[in-house]
Amino acid sequence: MAFEGTVHKYGRDVDTDVIIPARYLNTNDPAELARHCMEDIDPGFVARVRPGDIIVAGENFGCGSSREHAPVAIRAAGVSCVVAASFARIFYRNAFNTGLPIVVCPHAAREIEAGDRVRVDVVEGRIEDLTTGKTYAAEAYPPFMRELVASGGLLPYVKKRLAEDEA
C-alpha cells in the first residue's frame, strides 16, 4: 500500500477541534466534513489540497476528542495518508478502524518540508522524500494492525470473526 503526494506540514498537538471544529459535527456526511477540514489551523487547506496529498505533522497528532469525523474529513478531503512523530491514541485507533493510512516516523516528521513530493509505503514502513532524495524507515505495523488493514478495517474484520465463531 503506497502513496505519492505533496506534503502539507503541521507542528505538534494538532487537535481534533482544529481538524474538524465541533460546530460542523451535526452531520456525518464526509463531503460536508471535508469542506471544513483543518479550517481553524489552516483556512487555505481545503482550496490547496489535491487528491493523494500527504499530511506530515509532529507529536500527538489528533489529540482531543474521539470524533471519527476527524479521520473521515481528512480522507474525504483527498489526503492519502498521514505521517507523524506520534499519534494521539483514539485518532490512531480511528485511523486503522476506518482505513485512513497512518505512519509513525519522528525522523521523517522532523525533516520533511511543506511542498515536498513524498512516497510512502505504509505497511512496509518506507518513506521517500522525492524532493530531497532522503529515505526514512518508519515503525512497522504490529501483526494485528496488518490484519485489520488487510481486512479493510474493523467492521469487515469483525464480520470475519463472527463468521469464524459460527463455523
Binding site: 477541534d17 482531543g64 474521539s66 471519527e68 491514541r89 467492521l155
Partner: protein, 431 residues
C-alpha cells in the same frame, strides 16, 4: 510477576490468566456508550456493514447530550436516528432531554458502572469511570459499532504511570487543580497510550467527585484511562446508587500488586499545589490562578462532564452567595444531570447562583465544545470548568478559554478577571 489493576481488569475481560503491557487483546465489553455526535456515524457504519442485530442491548447506552436539547434541524435529525435505532434494537438505556444529562455524569450516578468493569465509549472522556475502579476508555464510532455487533473491543494493554500525591491540598484546591497541575507537569502527551493510576494520601482524602474530575481529564494528558484504587469512599458512593443497579449488585474489586510494574512513578506534593488555571490553547499550559489577575473575561461556564456534579455547583455557589456577577461577565451554569439540577434546586445552590446573576441551563455539554448555550465571539475570553481550551473550542477561533476549578470560575465571575476566592473576599472586605 505483579500486575496493575488495569492489567487485571483487561485480563478478566479478555478471559485470560494475565496480560502484559503492549499485548493486543480482544476483550469483552461490559458497557458501550455513544452520544449524539458519535452514535449517528456508528449506526450508519453498523447498517452499511450489513449488521442487523446488536449482540446485547442491555450493554449499550445511548445519550444524546452534546447538542441537546436539539440546537438545530440537522441535530434533531441525528438524534432522531439514534432514538429510532434504540427503539428498533430494544436498547433501554437511551436517555434524552428531560431524563438524563451528560453521559459521564449519569452513567455512574445511575449505577450502570461497577468496579472491575470494562467500559468503552465513543467519547474521549469515557475515561471518567476509573473513579469507581473500572477500566474505561474513549474510542471512535467504528469501535462502538463493532462493540454493538460483536460485544468485544480490541485493546493494546497499556503500561501504567503511577501518580502519588503526598500531603494535604490547601483551601480551594480540588481534584481539578491536582489534575491540571499534573497535566502541566507531564504535558498533553505525557501519558500517551498509558493508564494513569492515582494514589497517595491526597487521593485517599479526595471525595468521589474530585476523583471523577481527575479520571475524566486523563485524556488531556494523552492517557488511555485513569483509575483510582477501590476504598471506603468508592463503597460509599456505589452503595448509594439506585437499588438493584449494577453498581450495587455486580462488579469485582481489583487492586494493583505491590510488585506491579510501572512505566514511571511520579511523586507530587499536593500541599504545594495552588488553585491552577490552564491558559489557551493547551490544558498543559498551567499557572497559579492568582498570577492571571490582569486577564479580563467576558464569560464564565460552570459545568461539563469534568465539573458538572453537585459538589462543583455548590463550590461555585459558596463563593457567589450574596454576591453579584460582574456587569461585563455572563455566567452560565450547565448542571451535569437532571438529578444534579434537582438537588441544586432543593439545597439553595441554584437560588444562590441565579440571584447572583447566573443563567442556569438544563443539562447539556453545549458550551464546552462551542456547540450552543454560550458560544464565544472573536476576541472574547472565558473561564470554564470544562476540559479543553484548544483553538476554537468554545466558538470563534479567535476566542480564548482558561480552564479552572469551580471556586476560581465563580470568583472570576465576580471580579471580571481571573481571580481566586481569597482575592474577591479581600476586595469585599476593603469596600
Amino acid at each position: 510477576m505483579g500486575q496493575t489493576v488495569t492489567e487485571k481488569i483487561i485480563a478478566r475481560a479478555a478471559g485470560l490468566e494475565a496480560v502484559r503491557a503492549g499485548e493486543i487483546v480482544e476483550a469483552r465489553v461490559d458497557l458501550a456508550l455513544a452520544n449524539d455526535v458519535t452514535a449517528p456515524l456508528a449506526i450508519a457504519e453498523f447498517e452499511d456493514a450489513g449488521f442487523d442485530k446488536v449482540s446485547d442491548p442491555a450493554r449499550i447506552v445511548l445519550v444524546p447530550d452534546h447538542f441537546t436539547p436539539n440546537k438545530d434541524i440537522k441535530t434533531a435529525g441525528q438524534v432522531k436516528k439514534v432514538r429510532e435505532f434504540a427503539r428498533k434494537h430494544g436498547i433501554a438505556h437511551f436517555f434524552e432531554t428531560g431524563r438524563a444529562g451528560i453521559e459521564h455524569v449519569i452513567l455512574p450516578d445511575m449505577g450502570l458502572v461497577a468496579p472491575g468493569d470494562l467500559v468503552i465509549g465513543a467519547d474521549s472522556h469515557t475515561c471518567t469511570y476509573g473513579a469507581v475502579a473500572a477500566f474505561s476508555t474513549g474510542v471512535g464510532s467504528t469501535d462502538f459499532a463493532a462493540a454493538m455487533a460483536w460485544g468485544r473491543v480490541w485493546l493494546r494493554v497499556p503500561q501504567t504511570i503511577k501518580f502519588v500525591y503526598h500531603g494535604r491540598p490547601g483551601r480551594h484546591v480540588v481534584g481539578k487543580d491536582l489534575m491540571l497541575h499534573t497535566i502541566g507537569m507531564v504535558g498533553v502527551d505525557g501519558a500517551l497510550y498509558k493508564a494513569m493510576e492515582f494514589a497517595g494520601e491526597a487521593i485517599e482524602d479526595l471525595p468521589i467527585d474530585g476523583r471523577f474530575t481527575m479520571c475524566n481529564m486523563a485524556i488531556e494528558a494523552g492517557g488511555k484511562s485513569g483509575i483510582v484504587g477501590f476504598d471506603k469512599k468508592t463503597t460509599q458512593y456505589l452503595q448509594s446508587r439506585p437499588v438493584g443497579s449494577r453498581a450495587r449488585t455486580a462488579g469485582q474489586v481489583f487492586a494493583s500488586d505491590p510488585e506491579a510494574e510501572y512505566a514511571q512513578v511520579v511523586e507530587i506534593d499536593a500541599g504545594a499545589i495552588r488553585p491552577t488555571v490552564a491558559k489557551p490553547h493547551l490544558p498543559s499550559n498551567t499557572v497559579p490562578a492568582e498570577d492571571l489577575a490582569d486577564v479580563r473575561i467576558d464569560q464564565v461556564v460552570v459545568g461539563s462532564c469534568t465539573n458538572g456534579r453537585l459538589a462543583d455547583l455548590q463550590q461555585a455557589a459558596e463563593v457567589l452567595k450574596g454576591r453579584a456577577v460582574h456587569p461585563d461577565v455572563r455566567l452560565i451554569i450547565l448542571p451535569g444531570s437532571q438529578e444534579v439540577f434537582l438537588a441544586a434546586s432543593r439545597d439553595g445552590t441554584m437560588q444562590a447562583l441565579v440571584e447572583a446573576g447566573a443563567a442556569f441551563s438544563t443539562p447539556t455539554c453545549g458550551a464546552c465544545l462551542g456547540g450552543h448555550m454560550g458560544v464565544l465571539a472573536a476576541g472574547e475570553r472565558a473561564v470554564a470548568t470544562t476540559n479543553r481550551n484548544f483553538v476554537g473550542r468554545m466558538g470563534d477561533p479567535e476566542s480564548e478559554v482558561y480552564l479552572a476549578n469551580p471556586y476560581v470560575a465563580a470568583a472570576s465571575a465576580i471580579a471580571g478577571h481571573i481571580a481566586t476566592p481569597d482575592m474577591v473576599t479581600t476586595a469585599k472586605g476593603g469596600a
